[in-house]
């Protein structure tokens, strides 16, 4: 499935972690993650009866996005640090 992306969009994908953070896709990912986490915090603080199910729903998006951000940042660190 993901190899199909490479068929056309690979040339347009971020070439470096810096681009991945600065370019629109990485920025949108970070923006979406911040919004999801903010809503999650507000829901928890609000203490509504359905908060548990709402938080679990938001986690479905938050955790994968967080993992993706971690990969972007780790690649950035690997690029900056001379670790061989």
């Amino acid at each position: 499935m993901n190899s199909t992306v490479t068929g056309y969009v690979l040339e347009n994908l971020a070439q470096t972690p810096g681009q991945a953070l600065a370019a629109a896709p990485g920025g949108l990912l970070v923006g979406l993650l911040i919004v999801v986490l903010l809503v999650r915090v507000l829901v928890v603080v609000g203490g509504a009866p359905s908060a548990r199910s709402v938080v679990r729903t938001l986690d479905i998006a938050a955790v994968p996005l967080f993992i993706a951000l971690a990969f972007i940042l780790s690649a950035r660190v690997l690029e900056i640090l001379p670790l061989g």
Binding site: T16, P64, I67, A68, I72
Partner: protein, 284 residues
């Protein structure tokens, strides 16, 4: 007169005719019982996904991610309004697709070996699948991850491996295992097995088809095939899209007949290993 002839024929047919009539009635009744809301959700989300993929192709990665983010927001808002119904399960299952696409467009692709790109997307996607299971209180067994006959797994996996050749010839060369020696080759094969074969089958056949089957019976196969086709459409290779749609039909039918996704996982993993790891070395 025609009606008389028909009734006469029916009288000759006897029990068989009655059975056919009962089957027809059952089909009409099952069509009448289909949840219209679920059909709207399925068509709406697949349509939205198609449009988002179109935006990705026409506008590039940035606008594409934005389109998928908007679709994901719609999914989240609908999900918060729904109770614990089968339609909710369908919504969250199909909602995984824009999420996976956002991740695949956002993580850096060109500075790392391409197989690690698959690993990054697969890890994030598998975590998403686990969280969908937690949200819906489902188990792996509910997705069809259960024992099945060994012979069936072997035969279907062998068919999948054979399908790797046409997939390679149609899609062209994409080498995931070159240049890494034996260890690199084994690592690439392991990544492809887990993050292509296992991940895509648990997503398309496990989550999406099982949600579709609970709502539309045999329509579950059509749903998983439609989702597969939309996600592969970005290849812009019509022959490859048709080929993968046919593979999805085959894997969907196997899943429906056996009630297990183990054989489709084996087939998809074998297809991907042959296509992406072995053939680029054997037929460079």
């Amino acid at each position: 007169m025609a009606a008389t002839a028909a009734s006469g024929a029916s009288a000759h047919v006897g029990p068989g005719g009655d059975a056919a009539e009962t089957t027809t009635r059952r089909r009409r009744r099952s069509l009448a019982n289909v949840d219209v809301g679920a059909v709207r959700v399925a068509i709406g989300l697949l349509g939205g996904l198609f449009m988002a993929e179109l935006v990705t192709i026409v506008g590039g990665a940035g606008p594409g991610v934005l389109a998928h983010v908007l679709l994901l927001v719609v999914v989240a808002m609908l999900s918060l309004r729904m109770g614990s119904t089968q339609t909710h399960r369908l919504l969250l299952s199909l909602g995984m697709l824009p999420l996976v696409r956002i991740v695949s467009l956002a993580v850096p692709a060109a500075i790392i070996p391409i197989q690690y790109w698959y690993l990054q997307i697969g890890l994030a996607g598998l975590e998403g699948v686990l969280l969908v299971l937690r949200r819906l209180d489902l188990t792996f067994k509910d997705l069809g991850l259960q024992r099945t006959r060994g012979a069936e797994v072997a035969v279907v996996t062998a068919i999948g491996a054979a399908l790797g050749l046409p997939a390679y010839l149609i899609a062209g060369r994409l080498d995931l295992g070159g240049g890494g020696g034996a260890i690199g080759l084994a690592l690439s094969a392991a990544i492809v097995i887990v993050f292509v074969g296992f991940f895509e089958e648990i997503l398309f056949r496990g989550l999406i088809q099982s949600a579709g089957t609970a709502l539309f019976a045999r329509g579950g196969i059509a749903l998983s095939v439609a989702a597969t086709t939309v996600m592969y459409a970005a290849s812009l290779n019509p022959r490859y899209v048709v080929f993968m749609a046919l593979v999805a039909v085959f894997l969907g039918v196997v899943t429906r007949r056996s009630g297990s996704i183990v054989a489709p996982i084996g087939a998809h993993a074998a297809l991907a290993v042959v296509q992406l790891v072995i053939l680029p070395i054997v037929l460079p």
